[in-house]
């Protein structure tokens, strides 16, 4: 079984989110998880766009 980078990143993000939620408020933990997902997906989308532009050029 092999994992891609995004899967490992998300596993780490949810574990840190759990830690935050456990020591403070569960909503803070959930908010951290959602923020990480949004950042990773936006960065991934931008990278994909850049690569497409480069290929066209």
């Amino acid at each position: 079984m092999t994992f891609e980078y995004w899967q490992i990143t998300y596993v780490l993000a949810v574990l840190i989110g759990l830690l935050i939620g456990w020591i403070s408020d569960p909503w803070f933990g959930a908010a951290f998880i959602w923020s990480c997902v949004i950042v990773v997906e936006v960065l991934g989308f931008q990278k994909k766009k850049r690569l497409e532009k480069g290929r066209k050029a």
């Binding site: 899967q7 998300y10 949810v14 456990w22 569960p26 909503w27 959930a30 959602w34």
Partner: protein
């Protein structure tokens, strides 16, 4: 010492949550991926967003009833090792089934295990604890399990019929694809939300019972346990969900976007409805009921009956085997 054993019970509950994530991602997003509307990565990403939302908002509605109403809640707080045995047995059976590619119901495994734990303590009583199984509650839960696929099939049938006519009026193919794609993704998100609300409650019910009597936490215990369960589900979804996702998406019947939408929305409505009454019902049963409900419109031609029969057999064997496994394991831990 009791805190350490309680920690083992939490790890066991987390393991059950991981199992649910690996097994039920296929149920929530299998139809969307099967219909080629979204990619595997997008499916998992949506799960990560919507599972914690459902868990923290509504996870407690099922967590309390599962942890305290089938066997007495104080039983697990005074004997957390039995709770750990129950959750490990349930998790182990579901892992085996997931490895074989069958989307079995973790709810049935957990409830079967809790009954097995209760029976073990009745037959091998411990000093300072009494046990009984609330058979009336158990019958109510089993009735909800039986009703789940039929309710979901009914909802899916209605949704399919109601959306067919307005969609036929859309002439532009691009616009139609956009509407269908968006509908399937949104209904998948709703399924993920209801998984957070219902499945997390089932996974963490025993952990809730363990923590409830022992006062192991400060703050909002239910919400913290719900987040722990949600993280377990997400990690299961991230690491081990591809196989059941393919079984649900391609193995039961070939799915078009409208079928996927009707099946998912019907299932989500059903699970959400039962969550409001504290019933731990199976998303697996609901989604397959939904797919079958839409299959009825096509005269069942598209539904793989052999595959359905295999899944039904797994549903019957799951609670029985979990009960026996837990009974044996609980007996062993009670000897220690």
């Amino acid at each position: 010492m009791i805190e350490l054993v309680a920690l083992v019970a939490f790890v066991a509950s987390f393991y059950v949550a991981w199992n649910i994530g690996s097994n039920n991602t296929g149920n929530a997003m299998g139809t969307s991926v099967g219909a080629n509307v979204i990619s595997y990565r997008m499916a998992v990403t949506l799960m990560i967003i919507f599972i914690p939302l459902g868990a923290v908002l509504e996870g407690s509605k099922v967590m309390g009833p599962v942890g305290t109403q089938i066997v007495p809640g104080n039983l697990f707080s005074s004997l957390p090792k039995v709770a750990a045995a129950a959750m490990f047995s349930a998790g182990l059976w579901v892992t085996i089934q997931t490895k074989r590619g069958y989307p079995v119901s973790i709810h049935q495994a957990v409830i079967g295990s809790l009954v097995g734990a209760g029976l073990a303590i009745i037959l091998f009583p411990q000093v300072g604890t009494t046990s009984h199984v609330n058979w009336v509650r158990l019958i109510e839960i089993v009735s909800a399990w039986v009703a789940t696929p039929f309710t979901s099939a009914f909802f899916a049938f209605l949704i399919y019929r109601a959306s067919e006519a307005p969609l036929r009026r859309v002439k532009a193919l691009e616009k139609l694809n956009l509407i269908l794609g968006l509908s399937v993704v949104l209904s998948g998100c709703y399924v993920a939300y209801t998984m957070g609300a219902n499945d997390v409650g089932t996974a963490m019910g025993a952990a809730y019972a363990v923590s409830h009597g022992g006062n192991l936490f400060i703050g909002n215990v239910e919400a913290k346990l719900a987040l722990l369960g949600a993280v377990g589900l997400i990690i299961g979804s991230l690491t081990y969900s591809r196989k059941t996702l393919e079984t649900v998406g391609h193995g039961i019947m070939p799915l078009g976007p409208l079928t996927a939408f009707a099946a998912q929305l019907g299932a989500a409505l059903t699970v959400h409805l039962f969550t409001q009454f504290g019933f731990p019902v199976s998303t697996t049963e609901a989604i397959i009921g939904g797919i079958t409900g839409v299959g009825i419109i096509g005269g069942m031609a598209g539904v793989g009956r052999g595959k359905l029969r295999e899944i039904v057999m797994a549903w019957i064997s799951t609670p029985t085997i979990s009960l026996i496994l837990t009974f044996g394991l609980a007996y062993l831990v009670l000897l220690v």
